[in-house]
């Protein structure tokens, strides 16, 4: 609760700070505020479960997901210290909106009532529409914002309709009541419950960008500013998956076998489709979009066999995924801080010679995303596969095959770095030192290496 209040006040302060010319210190203020919020989160969770009128419940589960998002945001804010100079007038707005998104995340992953789930998703989405469109004069950014807005509003409609049907069957928004009611509700009005659950699942699939509801995601990732893309690929994805998982864990007695078939098909289709399409992409940000869609496919596999370990398996996967993704986008931002180049693969040409340090970090992050054995991405995938293998052997085989495909497109960037000559006539933006950016990529490298050596460090 204290975390939520602190985040909200920091958001308002950042908005006003942006107006009153405190832009220089805002990223540092935001970092301190986020670190304090994280401290409060740890402090609160140490003193047990906090229950607010059965609307929000702050327990281990919500602490895990809020913690991941706060740390990711902290790293992204540090990236922004130099990275958002393209349109530095709006840095205050951008940081303020990030805080409001985090408020939405807190509501989403700790909900115990459908009302809070809906409000959380909206508090998360509405600032994001603005962030995606924050390059006002760039038509690509406009287009991405409109696409994201229409898709988001459309998904909200589905979510609400599903909630209305479940309310009609169970007479309550409270998850505990719905769960205890589920047997009677399923007997008296099975159609209402099943259609309602299906509609809510579709809405979540839109939010986490699972095939066949993924088509907005590559456009939006490509069109939005790199910083916002990084934010969406990590924080928003973590929050949406966290909320979806909580929903599945709570309502698992209501979910029939046909629901698991739908989810399994969705997971398989997501992995195959995203990995195959990613091969053909020539834009690096679009490729990262498809890569993040494919990771959603792997994570959805863990949703099929919900038990007491699922939370820690998914949490570990999301931590590893977020660290690697932030590392990749921070490198991209270092190479192209003003968004003045295209984000094709040629941006990495000869990076191994120009800046061996960035090249090594980018290589490690990409290999971890691909799941190459010594890196933590492998352990994360392995623990998900291990859980699913007894019941869904076919799906695990599909997953292993598609992650083999994914190695190809991650290696395109790596070969560009080490085996392609760099065109010397282009001006390099690596000359000026961006210490915050280097700090972020170092943190993600160290984080990945620590998780590689001590996978059990986080107590998950």
């Amino acid at each position: 609760m204290k975390t939520l209040i602190l985040l909200f006040i920091s958001g308002i302060f950042s908005l006003f700070g942006g107006i009153f010319g405190l832009k220089k210190i805002l990223p540092f203020f935001a970092s301190i505020a986020l670190a304090t919020a994280f401290g409060y989160l740890a402090y609160d969770s140490y003193y047990g479960i906090e229950n607010l009128q059965n609307m929000l419940i702050f327990d281990n589960y919500s602490t895990l997901f809020i913690g991941i998002t706060i740390v990711s945001t902290l790293l992204i804010v540090l990236m922004s210290a130099r990275g958002y100079s393209y349109n530095s007038n709006s840095i205050g707005d951008l940081i303020g909106l990030m805080f409001f998104v985090l408020c939405g995340v807190v509501c989403m992953v700790s909900f115990n009532n459908m009302v809070m789930l809906f409000l959380g998703i909206e508090i998360l989405s509405i600032p994001l529409y603005v962030m995606v469109g924050s390059h006002r004069n760039n038509l690509k950014s406009n287009e991405a914002a409109l696409k994201y807005f229409i898709m988001g509003a459309f998904a909200t409609g589905f979510l609400l309709f599903g909630m209305a049907l479940i309310y009609g069957a169970t007479q309550s928004f409270n998850l505990d009541v719905i769960r205890s009611f589920s047997a009677t509700a399923l007997q008296s009005s099975p159609a209402l419950v099943n259609i309602g659950l299906l509609l809510i699942t579709i809405a979540f699939a839109f939010k986490i960008a699972a095939v066949p509801f993924h088509y907005w995601s590559p456009d939006v990732y490509q069109g939005s500013p790199t910083l916002v893309t990084a934010f969406m690929a990590t924080v928003v994805k973590t929050a949406a998956l966290g909320a979806f998982l909580k929903f599945v864990i709570y309502l698992s007695p209501m979910l029939g076998s046909q629901w698991y078939i739908v989810l399994g098909l969705m997971s398989g289709a997501t992995m195959i489709f995203a990995n195959v399409v990613a091969i053909k992409q020539n834009d690096f940000k679009r490729m990262m979009a498809y890569s993040s869609i494919s990771h959603v496919g792997y994570i959805l596999m863990a949703f099929l066999t919900v038990n007491k370990d699922t939370q820690s398996v998914v949490g570990f996967y999301l931590i590893v995924y977020s660290l690697a993704t932030i590392g990749v986008f921070a490198c991209l931002l270092l190479l192209n801080p003003d968004h003045n180049k295209s984000s094709g693969f040629e941006i990495f040409n000869g990076l191994g010679k120009r800046s061996p340090f960035i090249a090594i970090i980018l290589t490690v992050c990409l290999l971890s995303l691909a799941g190459i054995p010594p890196l933590p991405g492998f352990f994360a995938k392995f623990s998900i596969f291990k859980q699913a293998i007894s019941e869904y052997l076919g799906l695990v085989i599909v997953a292993i095959a598609s992650s083999a495909i994914s190695i190809y497109y991650y290696f395109r960037a790596i070969t560009a770095m080490y085996f392609t000559k760099y065109d010397e006539t282009e001006t390099s933006c690596l000359k000026e030192k961006n210490y915050a950016g280097y700090f972020v990529i170092t943190v993600s490298l160290v984080g990945l290496l620590v998780l590689m050596i001590f996978p059990g460090l986080l107590g998950l």
Binding site: E122, N142, L146, G157, Y167, Q171
Partner: protein
């Protein structure tokens, strides 16, 4: 009403009409909630309707702002012009 809204979003190509269709979907949900709330004699459903109305208003405000921004750049609200991102 919900179906009209869904069909509208999928078919129409005018940004303003799209927004109206999304509103139509949300209003269909509002109607359903009030109907259930009256049926159950339960005020929670009606309170939720107020939340939906507030959120829908905020959402439309952002949506119209995005459309204005696009209109300034393209002088049109026709979303079929927006194909600059590779498919």
């Amino acid at each position: 009403m919900f179906c009209i809204g869904v069909a509208g979003v999928l078919i129409r190509r005018n940004g303003i009409v799209l927004l109206m269709c999304v509103e139509l979907m949300l209003n269909a949900v509002n109607l359903l909630f009030t109907a259930y709330a009256t049926h159950f004699q339960d005020s929670a459903g009606q309170v939720f309707v107020f939340f939906i109305m507030v959120v829908a208003a905020a959402e439309v405000a952002v949506g119209l702002a995005i459309l204005v921004m696009i209109y300034r750049n393209t002088k049109s609200v026709d979303i079929s012009l927006l194909d600059k991102l590779k498919h």
